[in-house]
């Protein structure tokens, strides 16, 4: 079944895709006010892969996130996640957004543990195994450089620290798929680059599958193994490109010609899309 999907997908090579987005259309509203957000969007992400989706603003990148996690349904086409067609909210995904959306009445640690209170099997185990789960959350905090900040209220943390905590919350229930919607968009350049490293380490350690939506081309090239370029609305994938650089990548790499060339090439795709 999964093999057949892989064969049908034009983008997959030998690897079995973990996420397949197959000829997806998305139309908002009806009649006059109809908006074509996506048209014939097609791509696949293999298990443990890191895909970035870049494109001009308003091209339906965020719709893609909601479609993949089953928060909205496509008008046409289908989305297959881990061998099963997406039909309603999935629970193997973690999400993080530009806005960290931490709950101000909970400590940072309690914020991070929120998914455990919702997702099974953790939900029913949480009460009895609280200490074990708290230790897990503390470890995760430490791995993003927030050791010792668990008891702080989220509003006592800086923007970058809040975003780190938001990443922890997206990962605490060990999801197989991490969906990131411009997670570092609101941060200053230095903090952003620092968090690229944090995210890359987490990914290399745990090898979950990532779909990152961003408009920062350097970010996409730094983090992803495959980059998909979307056109302006109605969004479709106009180019897909592997990033043949070795992991782990460092900030030094971002100044090397191989890296800069890829950024340049993507940049040309985007400006062509913006003109049409």
């Amino acid at each position: 079944m999964a093999l057949a999907d892989a064969a049908a997908s034009p983008l997959a090579d030998d690897a079995i895709p973990f996420v397949t987005i197959d000829d997806v259309d998305l139309v908002y509203g009806r009649d006059e006010s109809k908006v074509h957000a996506l048209t014939g969007a097609t791509f696949a992400v293999e298990k443990g892969g890191f895909a970035a989706v870049v494109g001009p603003s308003g091209c339906g990148k965020s719709s893609l996130m909601k479609l993949t996690t089953g928060l909205i349904k496509p008008t046409k086409g289908r989305i297959v996640l881990d061998g099963a067609e997406v039909d309603g909210p999935v629970n193997i995904a973690g999400m993080a957004f530009q806005n960290p959306t931490l709950l101000p009445w909970r400590s940072t640690l309690k914020n991070i543990m929120l998914p455990l209170e919702i997702v099974e099997p953790h939900r029913s185990r949480l009460r009895a195994h609280r200490a074990e789960y708290e230790a897990r959350a503390q470890d995760l905090l430490a791995s993003v450089g927030l050791a010792g900040f668990g008891e702080r209220a989220p509003w006592e943390l800086s923007g970058g620290m809040q975003q780190r905590a938001s990443l922890c919350r997206a990962l605490i229930h060990e999801p197989e798929l991490l969906m990131l919607d411009e997670p570092f968009g609101a941060l200053d350049a230095f903090t952003r680059e620092e968090l690229w490293g944090v995210l890359q380490n987490l990914w290399m350690e745990r090898r979950f599958t990532v779909i990152l939506v961003t408009h920062d081309l350097r970010e996409a090239v730094y983090l992803a193994d495959t980059i998909h370029v979307m056109s302006a609305r109605p969004g479709k994938i106009v180019a897909s490109r592997k990033v043949p650089l070795d992991f782990p990548r460092t900030l030094e790499n971002t100044f090397e010609p191989a890296f800069v060339d890829i950024v340049h090439e993507l940049r040309n795709h985007i400006s062509r899309e913006r003109q049409t």
């Binding site: 928060l71 909210p89 999935v90 999400m95 009445w105 509003w155 923007g159 229930h173």
Partner: protein
């Protein structure tokens, strides 16, 4: 040049003892109040104003002391109807606010009616209450309830309705039910709105009680004031006013302290956000 000189001058003026007292946040309102009373007292004496037109503060204080037992009984009655009406308003307001904020259907069905209802001057309802329940405690409790009910409903509903869409996405993508979202996010999020509405609601409940007492009372501060007014005992009318004002301030302060205690995170995160945007 003048711009630069201005703050310097202000700095220098602060060095005196009295100006320092004036700029102190806590002392300033007291000083203003005392100065106003002194001017009032002075004006009454200087222009020999008749005491049934405008009694001097000293006369009001004397009457307040003279009638303290009677005033205490009536104040107790007013406080009683206020608190009972307020308790019903909290229970009903919280329940209806949650219902309206939780269900889009109920929101659409009830919100316009609530707005229409709130536009009716509640004084106009008191005569109807008198027909149904006679004069006394019951119309006062109901008027207090009617006045304080609305802000609680609106605030709780607003808190529930303004959950960030990203937060909803995070929870829904985890497979959270509507009940989960309500208990984990909606309800705690609406608590600052709820507590903020309580201090407004309790003062409105007091207004409602006093209104009802002046129209259809046989006890309470409102009744006492109306009675004293009809006998031209103006100092006693003012004494009643002082008591109502003191009660209003006290209950407001009480609920403001509750708000601070239970949902301090909301105001602190607010100030933090302002600092962050400033920097």
């Amino acid at each position: 040049m003048t711009d630069a000189a201005e703050p310097l001058g202000r700095e220098r003026r602060r060095s005196g003892a009295l100006p320092r007292l004036l700029t102190n946040d806590y002392a300033a309102p007291w000083l203003v109040a005392i100065a106003t009373l002194a001017m009032w007292e002075g004006a009454c004496r200087a222009f020999e104003i008749k005491k049934y037109i405008l009694p001097a503060p000293s006369l009001i204080a004397l009457d307040l002391w003279k009638w303290r037992d009677v005033i205490a009984i009536h104040a107790g009655q007013t406080l009683y109807t206020t608190v009972i009406g307020f308790i019903f308003a909290v229970l009903g307001g919280l329940a209806l606010g949650v219902a309206v904020g939780y269900s889009r259907f109920l929101y659409k069905a009830l919100y316009p009616i609530l707005i229409a209802f709130n536009s009716v001057p509640k004084v106009a309802i008191v005569p109807i209450l008198v027909i149904w329940f006679g004069i006394g405690t019951i119309p006062a409790v109901i008027t207090a309830f009617l006045l304080s009910f609305f802000p609680i409903v609106v605030n709780v509903a607003a808190g529930l309705a303004t959950v960030e869409p990203e937060m909803e996405d995070v929870l829904r993508s985890l497979g959270a039910s509507r009940r989960d979202m309500f208990l984990k996010v909606g309800l705690p999020r609406s608590m600052p709105y709820f507590f903020a509405s309580l201090k407004i609601a309790i003062t409105l409940a007091l207004v409602g009680s006093v209104i009802s007492e002046t129209i259809a009372g046989n006890a309470g501060i409102g009744y006492l004031m109306l009675n004293a007014s009809s006998r031209f005992e103006t100092p006693l009318v003012f004494a009643g006013l002082v008591v109502v004002a003191a009660m209003g301030v006290a209950i407001y302060a009480l609920f403001a302290s509750f708000e601070n205690r239970f949902t301090g995170w909301a105001t602190r995160s607010q100030s933090q956000r302002f600092e962050a945007s400033g920097g």
